[in-house]
């Protein structure tokens, strides 16, 4: 029996390698924590949406029972007297009172906390001895735009740099190194598949797995965010530039998998301990924000960030002196960003393919 000619080509062999690898990449025990990494932000956004909805319902209910004019609530200023506030807004839906001693000689003072809501925002008014001193605001005050900025931050700081990075490290380094440790790589090398095709097949399988896991997670994060808002708000966002932003973020996730994946696959092929290479790459990608100007372009995260459609607000946790160092390099346009990532991935894969031709099975040394 001879192999069917339609399957005899390299593409058939590539497909066969992908078929073998795909189950390992999607369903291996190691993939469990990668799913956790990927789905964590979606879970957090989901919980936030549940909280926001419940808070919104709570405030709406209170607003019906204790109606307050929104303009009247906004007009209250520090220094207002308690009687004037109650006269304008009516009785609060909740209030607390307590006394305290201060001054010399000590005198007793009375602190009052009044809670109002217009159905959207929970407003807290603090009075001391009948005069308003300050206000506080909480509750379902987040807007979709605010949440999108939070998402942009989470995506760049957590999702790209940690979740996708470590997810790809876990899956791609294992494609070769895992089989060397399991002593099962020789089955591939004893097949009539050219070694570069084995490299390509494993890469495609890893890419399919990571791209699906992380782009689906990205889409889920948007879905989770949208759940906290009225349909109209979501519809308006999607009709303006929402769909393109979602597509862009999913695309960035896939490109990140492609670029990091190629490097980690090469690391698993070449290095006995690929975690060293992963640690060095993580260090380089992490300090990318602090390296000057065009040197930033020698990193993957630079191109990925350039492709992100929402620019996150500056990280105010960075000390002011350092903040001057993190001035971003000139972003590249989408075509340059995609092309740069594609070229990086391709070059690393070609190098891996060439290296694989010299690969020897010597498990005892691994």
């Amino acid at each position: 029996m001879t192999p069917e000619t339609t399957m005899a080509g390299l593409s058939g062999q590539l497909f066969a390698v992908v078929r073998i690898e795909i189950a390992k990449t999607f369903f291996s025990r190691r993939s469990l924590w990668i799913y956790l990494l990927a789905l964590l932000p979606a879970a957090l956004f989901f919980m936030n949406s549940i909280y926001a909805k419940r808070e919104h319902a709570r405030l709406a209910k209170i607003a019906i029972e204790h109606p307050v004019e929104k303009e009247a609530l906004r007009s209250i200023r520090n220094g207002a007297r308690l009687e004037d506030v109650v006269g304008l807004l009516g009785e609060p839906y909740r209030k607390t009172t307590y006394g305290f001693w201060s001054g010399q000689p000590p005198q007793r003072h009375e602190r009052l906390v009044y809670f109002y809501t217009d159905g959207q925002v929970d407003v807290t008014l603090y009075f001391i001895d009948g005069v308003m001193r300050r206000t506080g605001q909480s509750g379902a005050s987040q807007t979709l735009n605010q949440l999108l900025l939070v998402f942009a931050n989470v995506f760049e700081l957590y999702f790209l740099r940690l979740a996708i990075f470590f997810g790809c490290a876990g899956i791609f380094t294992n494609l070769f190194r895992g089989e060397m440790l399991d002593k099962s790589l020789h089955f591939y090398l004893l097949s009539p598949v050219p070694r570069p095709v084995i490299v390509a097949g494993k890469y495609v399988a890893g890419l399919l797995a990571t791209a699906v896991i992380f782009s689906v997670s990205t889409a889920l994060q948007f879905y989770a965010m949208f759940r906290g808002f009225d349909g109209e708000v979501v519809h308006e966002y999607l009709q303006s530039n929402g769909w393109s932003q979602i597509a862009a973020y999913m695309g960035v996730s896939m490109l990140a998998c492609a670029a990091y994946g190629s490097i980690f696959l090469a690391a698993g092929l070449v290095a006995k301990n690929p975690t060293t290479i992963a640690a060095l790459l993580l260090l380089w990608e992490s300090v990318n924000a602090f390296i000057p100007g065009n040197l930033k372009m020698a990193s993957i995260v630079f191109y990925l960030q350039s492709l992100c459609p929402i620019e996150p607000p500056p990280d105010m946790t960075i000390p002011p002196m350092l903040r001057s160092l993190v001035a971003p390099a000139e972003s590249v346009d989408a075509f340059t960003g995609i092309a740069a990532l594609a070229v990086i991935s391709l070059l690393v894969l070609i190098a891996s393919g060439i290296y694989s031709r010299k690969l020897e099975i010597n498990y005892s040394a691994d």
Binding site: M1, P3, E4, T6, M7, A8, G9, G12, Q13, A16, V17, R19, I20, A23, K24, S28, E179, D182, K183, S184, H186, F187, Y188, L189, L190, S191, P192, V193, P194, R195, R357, K358, E360, I361, N362, Y363
Partner: protein, 312 residues
């Protein structure tokens, strides 16, 4: 160079400073070739070189005219059952064979059919859908063998294929090797079970410390070993008389009576001459029933050339 042969031309392989094999030159015809030698003698290195899992530091190898660095052509002709007792995780026996057959370019239905045939040949059909991880040592050996033969290779390379097999399965496996060999294929077996090598081998290669110490048909190799007299067992009715008669021959160095009193063991430095003389002696009234060489076995050659102490 015969394109139907497996050839090693002055092949050396070093692992850094450590010698794997050194200056190996072989030309192996079809049939069953046994590779024997103590641990660390370079047997597995030789097999791995043949399959391209490692590359020679020097020299060149051709398997039926194909270089091992050309997997697309080589592995359509070669099946290799390695010594590694490890398998892709989570697969059943059937999945294991079938998935790798797809790499050869077989369609799903072809792969299924070939898998079933290979499983049947190694008598693993009943266990085919169980996880390989749950197989016994013998079953794992057989599934490995099935994977190596599933694509009907012209060259079957087997590293210690009889380890862990029970006597019945071992006999069946040896029959399988004979069947392959009778079809004009190469069966290249590395083993340390020497008496079975005698039973099945058309030729053998003896390795020690990375060198090929001897190669060829066992009788030819044995006759070349001059340091150890050839041993001939003669079964007869009058062993004492025969013992005194043959001891008169110059080249006979020792004659031992068989413990059962029904024969003698003769040690001679000139086997050919002894057999010629024995034709005349047989005409005398010793009641000779059978004459058989006693030490033209791989085991004997192994002991003579490498030493008993190094045998496992």
């Amino acid at each position: 160079m015969n394109p139907g042969f497996i050839t090693f031309d002055n092949v050396s392989r070093f692992y850094g400073e450590v010698l794997g094999v050194n200056r190996v030159t072989l030309s192996i015809p079809p049939g069953i070739t046994s590779l024997v030698g103590p641990n660390g003698s370079g047997k597995t290195t030789l097999l791995n070189l043949m399959a391209g899992l490692i590359r020679p530091t020097e020299g060149s190898i051709r398997v039926l005219g194909i270089e091992p660095r050309n997997p697309r052509e080589l592995f359509r002709l070669v099946g290799y059952s390695t010594q590694f007792d490890s398998y892709p995780r989570g697969t059943t026996g059937r999945q294991f064979i079938q998935s790798f057959l797809r790499l050869f370019g077989y369609s799903s239905s072809q792969a299924s059919k070939l898998t079933a045939e290979a499983l049947d040949l190694v008598h693993l059909t009943d266990a085919a859908d169980r996880k390989v991880a749950g197989y016994s040592k013998g079953m794992r050996q057989r599934i490995k063998l099935a994977q190596a033969i599933a694509h009907n290779p012209q060259v079957l390379v087997l590293d210690e294929p009889l380890n862990g097999l029970d006597p019945l399965v071992r006999a069946e496996t040896l029959n399988l090797f004979r069947k392959f060999s009778s079809e004009g294929r190469h069966v290249f077996v590395s083993t340390h079970i020497l008496h079975e090598v005698d039973m099945i081998s058309d030729q053998f290669i003896l390795m020690s410390n990375g060198y090929v110490v001897a190669e060829g048909q066992i009788q030819d190799v044995r006759s070349e070993i001059r340091d150890h007299p050839m041993q001939v067992t003669i079964r007869c009715k009058r062993p004492n008389a025969l013992a005194s008669r043959v001891f008169e021959l110059d080249h006979v160095v020792e004659v031992r009576l068989h413990p059962d009193g029904k024969g003698v063991l003769v040690l001679t430095r000139a086997a050919d001459l002894f057999y010629r003389k024995l034709n005349h002696i047989a005409m005398e009234d010793f009641g000779i029933e059978s004459i058989a060489p006693a030490d033209d076995t791989v085991k004997s050659v192994y002991e003579y050339l490498i030493g008993e102490e190094s045998q496992r």
